[in-house]
C-alpha cells in the first residue's frame, strides 16, 4: 500500500457526550488528522450496526462509533444497546474478512477532548495499516 494512503473515516458521534467532547477538542485547539468526518446522532444507540457495513460499502476505509461512558448515557441505556449490537457486528465483520482495524467503538465523554484526539489518531492509524478498503466496496460502473 502506498505511503501516501489517506484513509477515509466516517464517525458516528452521540450528541451529548462524544460530539460535545469533539467540540471541546476543537475549543482547546487540539490537533488531529482530518481523515475523520463526523455524523451527528442523538445517541450511540441510534447507530444501526448496518451503517458500518453501509459506510464501508459507500467509500469509507474505516468507521468509528463513539458514545457516552456506561452509566452516563443521556438517554440512560442507549450506549448499552450500542455496545451489544456493535460487538456482534465486529465479530461478524471479522469473520467475513473485514480487517478489525477498520471498525472501532469508543466511549468519549463531553469533558474528554484529549481522549477524542487519541481515539481519532488510533482509528486513522489502524485504517492506514489496513489499507484502502477493497472488499465489498460498491464500485462505480464504467460503461
Amino acid at each position: 500500500m502506498s505511503a501516501n494512503f489517506e484513509p477515509n473515516i466516517v464517525a458516528f458521534l452521540c450528541n451529548w457526550c462524544s460530539y460535545a467532547g469533539a467540540d471541546l477538542a476543537g475549543t482547546s485547539r487540539v490537533n488531529y488528522p482530518s481523515n475523520i468526518q463526523i455524523i451527528r446522532v442523538m445517541c450511540s444507540g441510534r447507530v444501526n450496526p448496518l451503517y458500518v457495513m453501509n459506510a464501508l460499502q459507500q467509500g469509507a476505509d474505516g468507521v468509528l462509533v463513539s458514545g457516552c461512558h456506561p452509566g452516563d448515557c443521556h438517554y440512560m441505556e442507549g450506549n448499552y444497546y450500542a455496545r451489544r449490537r456493535l460487538g456482534m457486528l465486529k465479530d461478524l465483520m471479522e469473520f467475513v474478512g473485514v480487517d478489525p482495524k477498520r471498525f472501532h467503538m469508543s466511549w468519549v465523554s463531553a469533558s474528554e477532548g484529549h481522549k477524542w484526539k487519541e481515539v481519532v489518531e488510533k482509528t486513522v492509524e489502524d485504517a492506514k495499516e489496513a489499507g484502502p478498503f477493497e472488499g465489498f466496496r460498491r464500485r462505480k460502473i464504467e460503461w
Binding site: 451529548w16 467540540d23 463526523i38 442523538m42 445517541c43 444501526n48 467509500g59 438517554y75 466496496r137
Partner: protein
C-alpha cells in the same frame, strides 16, 4: 414531500476562526454545484444580525425552503438559526448545520485538508437537508408545583423562593430534621454569623409556609414523566411516633432504656443519643423519631416489661405499629439539593484519625466548638490518658482534596476559610494556645475573605507552608511530621490536638438519585450540570435543576445564590404554565410494523406500547409512540428489523445519504 427542495448554503468565516484554515469561497463554489442548491454564500459572522438577515432575504427573494449553515457546532447556534429561518417563514426543522469550526478549522492545520473536509461535511449536510421533514413543536400544560430534594440551606432557599412566588413546593428531606450541614456549623466565615441563628428562622419558615409541604424523614422512590409533568412517589418513613400528637417534650428520650447509648449523627459521632431521639435541639419539625435498628422493642420485640417511652409519653404519641406511608403527586420541576459528605479521614491513615482520639476532622471541631455540642462549646480533648484543654493545636488543610491518591483531584473551595475560621474560634476560646495551620495554598477569594485571613493571622495564628506526611504519638503528645517549605526545615511538631481540614465529597448515596432522575456525574463525581459556564443550575434532563454542594463544593453565600438561581430556572415552566415537547420524536410506520415488541423492550422512557389495529379485517398489533414521553434517542430504530420505527430528523433515509456523501467512490 410535495415541494421541490431549494437549498441555501451559508458558510461562515467566523472572523478568521474558520477562514484561516478553510477556503470558504472554494467551499461555496463546491456547494453551488450540489443538487438542489440554489444559493451558496459566505459571510464573516453568520450568527450576527446581518448574517441572519442575509439568510432571511434569500428565503424571501429566492423561495428557499431548506437551509444549510456551515459554521460552528450546532450545539452552539442551532437554536439561533432555527429561530431565524422560522421568522422568515421556513419550518425551523428544515435546517442542517455543518460543523466546520470545532470539528474542522480548529483542529486541522493545513488549508488544503481543512477545505477538503469542509466540502465533504457541507455535501453531507446538503444531502440530509433535502430529506428533512417539517415538524411542529407541541405544547402541553405544566403542573404549577415543584419538588425539592434535600432540605439543607440550598433546598430550603429554593423552596422558599418558589413558594413565595405562589407555587406549591414539596420539600423532601431524608433525615428527621431540615437544616442539613449548615445546622451543624457553629459560626460561619467571614462574618462569624452564628450558623444556627441565621438558619433556624428559615427552617421555621419552610415548615410553616402555606405553599410548602414538608416531607421530613422521607425519600423519593420514583419519578416518571417529563418536564411540566413529573409523577413523583415519596416514601414517608415510619418514625413510630404519631406526628400530630408528639409535642417534642423529650420525656421519652430521657427515660429510654438505652438512653444515650448511640453515636449522635448530628454531632459527628462525638455525642450520644437514645434510640428515640431529636437530632438536635432546634430540629424542625420538632418531632421525635425512633431508630428502629437500635430500639429494643422494634429490633428485638421486647423492651423490659413495657417500652419506657410509651409509658412516659403524656401525649400517647408512641406508635410501634406505624408503617411507611407513600404519597404521590405531580410537579412541573425538580430541584436536587442533596448536599455533600465530608471526606472520611480514615482514608488518610497516615494522619492517624482512626488511631488517636485527639486527631479530629473539621466537622467534629465544629461540633466541639458549638455551644449546643457534646462539650457545650468547650474545647476539651482526650489525649489518650486524660481530658485536657489543648495548648498546642495544629490544623491541616487539603485533607482529601487536591489529592490524586484518594481520587479527589479537585479543590474543596471552603477549607481554607473554614480552617481560618476554626483557628479564630480556637483562639477565642483558648487565648494562650499555640495555633499553627499547615497549608499548601491559601485561597481567600471571596467577599471579605482576604480581610478575614489577615485578621486571623494578626491573632497570632501561624501559617506554615507544608503538607504533613504523617502524625504519630510520642508520650502523650501527637507529632506532626512536616517540611516547612518556605524555610526548608524538616519539623517534628509536638501538639495536643490536630484538626484535619477535610474536604467535601459527593454523597455516598448519590447513585440512587442519579438513577431516579437520569443524572450524570462530572469527572469530580458531583452532579453534572448542563454547561459549566452558561447553565450551572440545569442538568441534561429538562426540568431537573441542581442547587448547592450537590453540584460541587461551595460555601454558604454561593449555595444560596445557586439555590435562588435554580428556583428561578425551575419557575420558568411553572410560570409559563406550558412546556414545549421535543418535536424530533420517533414515529412508527404501522403498515410495515409487525409488532415484535423490540422497541417496546428497549425504550428507557416507556414511550412505546403495542396497540391493536385493524388491518383489512384482521386484528394485528403494532407499536405506537407516546410523543410526550419520547426523547428522540433512536435506540428503538436501530433495533427495528423492518425499519418501521424511525426518529424524525434522524431517519435511516436521512442518514444513509449523509454516509454516501462522505464516501469516496473511486
Amino acid at each position: 414531500m410535495t415541494e421541490k427542495p431549494k437549498v441555501g448554503v451559508y458558510i461562515c468565516h467566523c472572523g478568521i476562526n474558520i477562514s484561516s484554515t478553510v477556503d470558504v469561497d472554494a467551499v461555496a463554489e463546491f456547494a453551488k454545484k450540489l443538487p438542489n442548491v440554489e444559493v451558496a454564500r459566505t459571510y464573516s459572522y453568520m450568527c450576527s444580525d446581518p448574517g441572519q438577515v442575509l439568510i432571511k432575504k434569500d428565503i424571501e427573494e429566492q423561495g428557499l425552503n431548506r437551509i444549510v449553515v456551515a459554521s460552528c457546532s450546532p450545539r452552539m447556534h442551532e437554536p439561533t438559526f432555527r429561530k431565524a429561518i422560522s421568522e422568515a417563514g421556513v419550518n425551523p426543522y428544515f435546517l442542517e448545520m455543518a460543523n466546520i469550526r470545532e470539528q474542522c478549522s480548529w483542529v486541522h492545520e493545513e488549508m488544503e485538508e481543512g477545505t477538503a473536509k469542509a466540502e465533504k461535511l457541507v455535501g453531507a449536510s446538503v444531502a440530509k437537508v433535502r430529506l428533512l421533514e417539517a415538524l411542529e413543536t407541541k405544547e402541553v400544560d405544566a403542573e404549577p408545583a415543584a419538588l425539592v430534594i434535600g432540605a439543607g440551606i440550598a433546598g430550603i432557599q429554593s423552596a422558599l423562593d418558589i413558594a413565595d412566588a405562589g407555587f406549591k413546593v414539596y420539600l423532601v428531606e431524608k433525615t428527621p430534621s431540615v437544616g442539613g450541614r449548615m445546622a451543624q456549623l457553629d459560626k460561619t466565615f467571614p462574618t462569624l454569623d452564628c450558623s444556627a441563628c441565621i438558619l433556624t428562622p428559615k427552617m421555621v419558615d419552610v415548615a410553616s409556609h402555606p405553599n410548602i409541604e414538608l416531607l421530613s424523614y422521607s425519600e423519593v422512590e420514583e419519578v416518571n414523566g417529563f418536564v411540566g409533568n413529573f409523577d413523583v412517589k415519596v416514601r414517608k418513613k415510619a418514625r413510630y411516633v404519631d406526628f400530630n400528637k408528639c409535642t417534642g417534650c423529650g420525656d421519652c428520650a430521657k427515660e429510654c432504656r438505652v438512653k444515650d447509648r448511640f453515636p449522635n449523627e448530628f454531632d459527628q459521632g462525638l455525642g450520644k443519643r437514645s434510640a428515640i431521639y431529636l437530632p438536635f435541639p432546634q430540629a424542625v419539625p420538632a418531632k421525635y423519631t425512633i431508630d428502629a435498628e437500635n430500639c429494643l422493642y422494634l429490633s428485638k420485640g421486647k423492651c423490659g416489661k413495657n417500652p419506657k417511652c410509651q409509658e412516659v409519653c403524656g401525649a400517647e404519641a408512641i406508635d410501634f405499629e406505624q408503617k411507611d406511608e407513600f404519597v404521590e403527586f405531580k410537579v412541573g420541576a425538580i430541584i436536587v439539593a442533596t448536599g455533600f459528605d465530608p471526606f472520611d479521614a480514615s482514608r488518610k491513615p497516615e494522619y492517624g484519625y482512626d488511631d488517636y482520639s485527639n486527631v479530629i476532622t473539621g466537622m467534629e471541631m465544629e461540633r466541639l466548638v458549638s455551644a449546643s455540642g457534646p462539650t457545650e462549646g468547650k474545647i476539651k480533648i482526650f489525649n489518650g490518658e486524660e481530658e485536657i484543654e489543648p495548648k498546642e493545636v495544629a490544623l491541616i488543610k487539603c485533607v482529601g482534596s487536591r489529592d490524586e491518591s484518594v481520587g479527589n483531584e479537585y479543590c474543596s473551595r471552603v477549607c481554607c476559610m473554614y480552617v481560618a475560621k476554626q483557628a479564630h474560634l480556637i483562639r477565642d476560646k483558648l487565648p494562650d494556645a499555640n495555633i499553627r495551620i499547615y497549608y499548601m495554598d491559601v485561597r481567600a477569594f471571596g467577599k471579605g475573605f482576604e480581610e478575614f485571613y489577615d485578621r486571623v493571622r494578626r491573632e497570632n495564628v501561624r501559617y506554615i507552608r507544608g503538607n504533613p506526611s504523617e502524625i504519630f504519638k510520642r508520650g502523650n503528645k501527637l507529632v506532626v511530621k512536616v517540611e516547612d517549605t518556605l524555610n526548608s526545615r524538616a519539623l517534628e511538631d509536638e501538639v495536643d490536638l490536630v484538626v484535619l481540614g477535610v474536604g467535601l465529597e459527593p454523597r455516598a448515596d448519590m447513585r440512587g438519585v442519579m438513577d431516579l432522575l437520569r443524572l450524570s456525574q462530572s469527572p469530580d463525581r458531583f452532579f453534572l450540570e448542563a454547561h459549566p459556564k452558561l447553565r450551572p443550575v440545569d442538568t441534561a434532563t429538562d426540568g431537573v435543576f441542581l442547587a448547592g454542594c450537590a453540584q460541587g463544593p461551595k460555601d454558604i453565600p454561593d449555595t444560596v445564590a445557586q439555590a435562588k438561581g435554580a428556583a428561578a430556572s425551575a419557575m420558568i415552566p411553572l410560570a409559563r404554565g406550558k412546556v414545549t415537547i421535543n418535536a424530533q420524536v420517533a414515529v412508527v410506520n404501522e403498515a410495515t410494523c409487525r409488532g415484535c415488541g423490540f422497541c417496546v423492550n428497549i425504550c428507557p422512557y416507556t414511550a412505546i406500547e403495542l396497540v391493536t389495529v385493524n388491518r383489512f379485517g384482521n386484528e394485528v398489533e403494532v407499536a405506537r409512540v407516546n410523543e410526550a414521553l419520547c426523547k428522540g434517542c433512536g435506540s428503538c430504530s436501530a433495533a427495528c428489523l423492518s425499519d418501521s420505527i424511525q426518529p424524525k430528523s434522524f431517519r435511516d433515509s436521512q442518514i444513509l445519504p449523509q454516509i454516501a456523501a462522505l464516501g469516496v467512490l473511486k
